[in-house]
């Protein structure tokens, strides 16, 4: 590694940490209905929308209604995206005359985009029309991210209120996070990206002749607008198949830097908004610190592994599959950020990472996408771990465990366990199925433990709503489209519903004022403890599967065998 690599990482963390309180404060104002700078710009739109649907944005509901609204909204979004893919040939904005999408691919894609996963079994430029990309996928990129924020807001309200059953209004949360957070930021980022050379047009694909005389078709389209939200909303669904490794999607080192930053920006800033909303910025910083430490740990291991190289090839850093334009550090940084944040955009092929780095990307996702995590989703996923930590460790101070003054009872533990169980079930059972069935194994490109890692990666990515692929696995088959779609649903709603239930139950509780007998959740001890629980509870579940995949592959590589 050169000093430049270090400078870039330090700069990245410094800018991220600097922006967190700024954006966090702004979002805190938006979510609590205070005055803020975007109100004059989009306020009329919010008022008009609510007047149009005849709803009162201030009317709040209990957790069940909140969950019902959320599910209905996502279901309608799913049906809509599914249908326009099935009929895209008859719809406008299809200059390449792309055919209708197969039913199982369309099913998988609509599930995937509605749930902020953006697993792409298809190749964008050869499958989806501009209409589907814009009206279907980009819209879902916005609202699926906003859905994550809404769930997180419901939990934060549950934690900060007392003795009520109201946890907010889903539609208000959805509208405000879309209009005042995602939309303005996306516009800014899209303009910056266009400035760097990302394409944004409705032209048909351009055939060109290269200098060597070969014929090539250059894909076009409204890319910048989708890429901005793809990064900001931790969606990750690339406009082009190569995602952010495509020069039209990610042309310059600066655009690369912006894209990496954009992935972490909202998840990081939301920790600050959370702190503000529960009345203690320290609480937010504690969560931020946990996320940052886990991120840095993964990044260090991964950089170490990549720069140690492969002994089979003379211990040189391996460039195959990396983003050659930006170098190894940028490839690794991007891979860590995108798997930590459940984004799934990639600028390098994770399949080509060394076994240890590949394992870190898998672990990042296995831990439940809580290292910054998806927009909103990272924080509410983290609350699951916080509840478990507080419950296990809180007993050790000799009181019924409490988090922010709320006593953790059987119901919360049960819901936290269900959320945890949902993800482990989805990952383990479906990986097991795929790794012994002929239709699961037929899609493999690589043999040995690496092939196993590919399957494990796919289901982990789906369950974590990450959406990135290890590559090397042909997942656009009936089996994978259906099972991955199912795993995505379990991984998304198997967590959201228990989390909302926790929010509802927490809101009903009284708040015990803190004293020196209170188990504190804003100091270094807690930070260490939470990291420990995330690693042990998350790690213990997957240690056997990791040993048989990346760990054994790493050990074999050190013995001079590779796959």
């Amino acid at each position: 590694m050169t000093p430049h690599d270090f400078i870039q990482i330090v700069l990245f963390i410094a800018i991220l940490t600097g922006l967190t309180p700024i954006l966090g404060t702004y979002m805190g104002k938006v979510f609590t209905g205070k005055k803020h700078i975007m109100l004059p710009v989009f306020g009329w739109l919010e008022r008009r929308i609510f007047r149009f649907v005849g709803a009162d944005p201030a009317e709040e509901t209990n957790w069940k209604s909140y969950a019902f609204s959320l599910l209905m909204f996502n279901f309608i979004g799913f049906v809509f995206v599914f249908l326009i893919q099935r009929f895209q040939a008859y719809l406008p904005l299809n200059p390449e005359n792309l055919p209708n999408v197969s039913w199982h691919s369309a099913l998988n894609t609509s599930i995937s985009f509605v749930t902020n996963t953006n697993w792409q079994g298809y190749a964008g430029e050869t499958t989806m029309s501009y209409f589907v990309q814009m009206i279907g996928l980009t819209v879902q990129n916005f609202v699926s991210a906003a859905t994550g924020i809404a769930v997180m807001l419901a939990v934060v309200r549950g934690l900060s209120r007392k003795s009520t059953d109201k946890i907010g209004n889903f539609w208000t949360d959805l509208a405000r996070s879309t209009l005042y957070v995602l939309l303005p930021l996306s516009i800014l980022l899209a303009i910056a990206l266009i400035g760097q050379g990302v394409v944004q047009n409705f032209k048909p694909y351009e055939p060109i002749q290269t200098l060597q005389g070969a014929h090539q078709v250059l894909p076009m389209g409204p890319a910048a607008s989708q890429i901005a939200i793809k990064q900001l909303g931790t969606n990750g669904g690339g406009f082009f198949n190569a995602n952010s490794a495509h020069p039209f999607e990610n042309p310059t080192p600066f655009s690369n830097f912006l894209q990496i930053l954009a992935i972490f920006l909202l998840p990081a800033s939301l920790t600050y908004s959370y702190g503000k909303m529960v009345g203690s910025a320290r609480q937010g910083w504690a969560i931020f610190t946990v996320m940052l430490i886990l991120f840095l740990a993964g990044l260090s291991i991964s950089l170490y592994a990549e720069y140690s190289g492969n002994p089979v090839f003379g211990n040189l850093p391996m460039m195959e599959g990396k983003e050659t334009r930006f170098g190894i550090t940028n490839s690794v940084l991007f891979s860590m950020v995108t798997t930590d944040a459940s984004c799934g955009a990639v600028n390098a092929m994770h399949d080509s990472l060394s076994p240890l780095s590949g394992m870190v990307t898998i672990i990042n996702m296995m831990l439940g996408e809580v290292i910054f995590g998806g927009v909103g989703a990272g924080l509410y996923g983290m609350f699951i771990f916080v509840i478990l930590t507080v419950f296990i460790a809180g007993l050790m101070v000799g009181r019924t465990p409490e988090f922010l003054g709320k006593k953790i009872g059987a119901f919360e533990v049960q819901m936290a366990i269900i959320a945890n169980l949902a993800t482990s079930f989805a990952i383990l059972v479906f990986t097991a199925w795929a790794s012994v069935s002929s239709y699961g194994l037929a899609s493999l490109n690589n043999a040995g433990p690496h092939g196993f890692s590919e399957i494990l990666y796919a289901y982990t990515s789906a369950a974590g709503n990450n959406g990135s692929a290890f590559a090397g696995l042909n997942s656009n088959t009936l089996f994978y489209n259906l099972t991955l779609g199912l795993v995505i649903l379990i991984g998304r709603f198997g967590v959201i519903i228990p989390v909302l239930a926790i929010a509802g139950s927490m809101a009903g509780k009284n708040i015990t004022p803190p004293s020196s007998g209170t188990f504190r959740t804003d100091n270094w001890l807690f930070i260490g403890l939470l990291i420990g629980v995330i690693l042990i509870v998350g790690g213990l579940t997957y240690f056997p599967s990791l040993s048989l995949g990346p760990i054994v592959e790493h050990l074999l590589m050190n013995n001079g065998i590779s796959f």
């Binding site: 000799g398 019924t400 006593k407 049960q414 015990t512 007998g517 403890l529």
Partner: protein, 692 residues
């Protein structure tokens, strides 16, 4: 009570009984109450079946047999832990049962006395007891006064006075009247008496899981299911790896090995000890002579963060003593002493007696018979806040002497068109500032002077409160004194807050306010007027000497009637929760080492070359002898650790009054870090022994 004799952890008789019970508890109907151990039991049965099938097919697997044996031991050890905790309770219950009355009761029907069985007494029946009678059931003295031997329940042999009215009217079935005669109204239905409840409690017969225990059980079951998933999917992953290594499927993991892995991963340590911890928490409370009506109450005790403490008896040494008479202007000391003494003659409160004693010591004023003075005694009430006598003079006029708080006397005097002098007020304020209690004496409309009642703060109580503060518990002193006096004593004792001139209604209101603000309140009380507050408090400890109403209202009864007991109860509650949390942490942290023992052992052949030792043997960081011995060592460690931790579960982790942060750091170091390291050492040692 026998608990005082039976505190040794390992009594031979209990051990033997527990060993027997741990086999009886193999009954699936009992086992299923503990899901984690139930999973182990299913694993034991399956492994045993596989061993037996092997024998029938002529191939005995010594490895599988050993796994099966140790799995059975794991279940038995967990049963043993519970049985030994229960055993100690049963021994106590035995002695209680002996004291339960079999005698007949003398029931009053109208004017007649009918002999009936104690067990047939209903609530509301009235019985009479004379010297030598065993009180048939719980009740309230409605007439008479008697000394009662309560050693059957308190272990205290000195008799206590029980009398009608007042705050010492409750009697307990099974105790014995040793003098005089009392009439008792039975207050409980048969089978639900104090002793019945105590027996049920110590036996753990009606033991219900407490809210916290339920939450923890859910966590443990949930973790078990997650590990079940991890183990159940392993053969598939393994199958893939075998194919990739070019090995036959017959080398896939066997069921005994999978079960061994599962049992090692699920939290068997805490699962096996959980109920023992709960029972022994109750036990520790009983050893302190406190009876809780439910396990829930003990748990809540750990959560209490506001303690309402009566000043008298808890903070100050029992009673205030009169130390001085300070007359008003124009009144002699003798006049004041005389009036104070007359007004106190029938005053049975310690303060009243101390005035009589002081008057005698200082001025030689002798005791007089109240009825000879044709006087009517006016007792103290919390509302009037004064007491005294009405003396009927020969001319028929009534002479009212009163003593009481300055406010009460001021309004008394003013109601009689008298004048409350400024210098009296000055004296009152000055005494109060010193933390003393000024008692103003007045005769009709004339204020005679002030009696200086001195409070003596208990030694060591200040430090106790400082400890409580460290634990995050706020102490509120409750006193009938005026604000100034209260403030002085509060400062001297170091309580956080005080309630001066508190009426029972004030107490109740205070508890409600604290609860609305999210606090859990603990209090101790005895009188009938404490009952509403005791019922409202999250932890209400009634003194055994108190009224039946108070005992019914509270959720604990302190047999020693010692007000400082509240603090000990809180400590027992905290210790119980700490023990659970610490052993849970220990149990989960253990898994790390077990993985490092088992994964390299089962995966040794994968991707191996000719020597049969694959790359994953690099994970064998403990350098264990052989794959079999590695798995066996992990299983043996897992079983033995339960037995090794039984004493800790019964005694509870060491408790210190420190802040939450300090307690957490300490327990985390011992049980978290220790939990990660201990099994590495333990498994290695067992492996060395096996491979000897």
């Amino acid at each position: 009570m026998s608990t005082k004799l039976n505190t040794s952890l390992f009594n031979k008789k209990i051990l033997l009984q527990a060993a027997k019970d741990s086999v009886i508890k193999l009954n699936p109907a009992i086992l299923i109450k503990n899901p984690v151990i139930f999973i182990v039991a299913i694993g034991s049965v399956l492994t045993t079946i596989i061993v037996l099938m092997g024998i029938m097919q002529g191939s005995f697997s010594s490895f599988n047999f050993q796994i099966a044996v140790w799995l059975w031991f794991t279940v038995l050890f967990a049963n043993f832990a519970e049985a030994i905790a229960e055993g100690r309770g049963k021994a106590q219950a035995e002695s209680l049962r002996n004291s339960r009355t079999q005698t007949k009761a003398r029931k009053i029907m109208g004017k007649q006395e009918v002999s009936t069985f104690a067990t047939e007494l209903k609530k509301g029946d009235i019985v009479v007891c004379e010297a030598g009678d065993v009180i048939p059931s719980d009740g309230e003295v409605i007439e008479g006064i008697a000394s009662v031997d309560e050693s059957a329940i308190t272990g205290e042999s000195a008799p206590v006075i029980r009398e009608s009215g007042g705050d010492r009217s409750a009697v307990t079935g099974g105790t014995k009247v040793i003098s005089d005669q009392i009439f008792i109204r039975i207050a409980t239905e048969p089978g639900n008496t104090f002793i019945d409840r105590m027996i049920a409690l110590v036996e753990g017969a009606k033991r219900q899981k407490t809210p916290n225990e339920i939450a923890l059980s859910i966590l443990l079951s949930g973790l078990s299911i997650i590990f079940l998933l991890a183990v159940a999917t392993l053969p598939a992953f393994f199958g893939y790896s075998l194919t990739a290594s070019g090995l036959p499927m017959s080398q896939n993991l066997t069921i005994p090995v999978l079960i061994a892995l599962l049992v090692c991963l699920i939290p068997t340590t805490i699962g096996g000890l959980l109920s023992a911890i709960g029972i022994s928490g109750m036990d520790r409370l009983i050893q302190r002579n406190v009876i809780a009506t439910s396990g829930r109450a003990i748990e809540a005790a750990g959560d209490v963060d506001v303690l309402l403490l009566d000043k008298t008896g808890t903070i100050t040494l029992g009673n205030r003593m009169a130390t001085d008479f300070i007359p008003a202007e124009g009144v002699t000391v003798e006049e004041l002493a005389n009036a104070a003494q007359i007004s106190s003659l029938s005053d049975e409160t310690p303060e009243g007696r101390s005035i009589v004693i002081l008057a005698k010591e200082k001025f030689g004023i002798r005791g007089r018979e109240v009825h000879q003075l044709s006087a009517t005694f006016i007792p103290f009430t919390a509302q009037s806040r004064m007491s005294g006598v009405d003396l009927k003079a020969d001319d028929g006029s009534v002479n009212k002497i009163r003593k009481g708080s300055s406010e009460a006397i001021r309004s008394f005097v003013q109601n009689n068109n008298g004048f409350y002098p400024q210098n009296i007020q000055d004296i009152v304020i000055e005494l109060a500032r010193q933390g003393a209690t000024p008692l103003v004496v007045a005769e009709d409309k004339k204020v005679l002077g002030v009696v200086h009642l001195k409070d003596i703060v208990k030694g060591g109580i200040k430090q106790r409160f400082a400890e409580l503060r460290k634990m995050g518990i706020k102490t509120v002193m409750i006193t009938g004194d005026n604000a100034l006096t209260a403030a002085a004593i509060a400062a001297e004792a170091g309580v956080d807050d005080f309630m001066a001139e508190a009426t029972p209604e004030d107490k109740l209101r205070r508890i409600r306010t604290e609860q609305v603000n999210g606090h859990l309140v603990g209090m101790i009380g005895d009188g009938t007027n404490d009952a509403p507050a005791l019922a409202q408090a999250d932890i209400g400890i009634a003194m055994n000497t108190g009224t039946q109403a108070a005992r019914e209202a509270g959720n604990m009864v302190d047999l020693d009637s010692n007000p400082t007991k509240l603090i000990e109860v809180v400590e027992v509650g905290k210790q119980l929760l700490m023990t659970r949390g610490s052993l849970t942490t220990f149990s989960i942290a253990n898994d790390v080492a077990k993985y490092f023992a088992i994964i390299p052992a089962i995966a040794i052949a994968l991707y191996s070359g000719k020597n049969g030792i694959g790359p994953l043997s690099a994970l064998n960081i403990m350098n264990l002898g052989s794959p079999q011995s590695a798995i066996l060592s992990a299983v043996i460690f897992n079983a033995i650790i339960i037995i090794l931790l039984v004493p800790l579960a019964l005694k509870g982790v060491r408790y210190r009054p420190v802040s939450a942060n300090a307690a957490l750091s300490r327990n985390l170091l011992i049980f978290g870090l220790g939990g990660i390291i201990a099994p590495f050492i333990g498994i290695k040692l067992i492996d060395l022994l096996i491979n000897l």
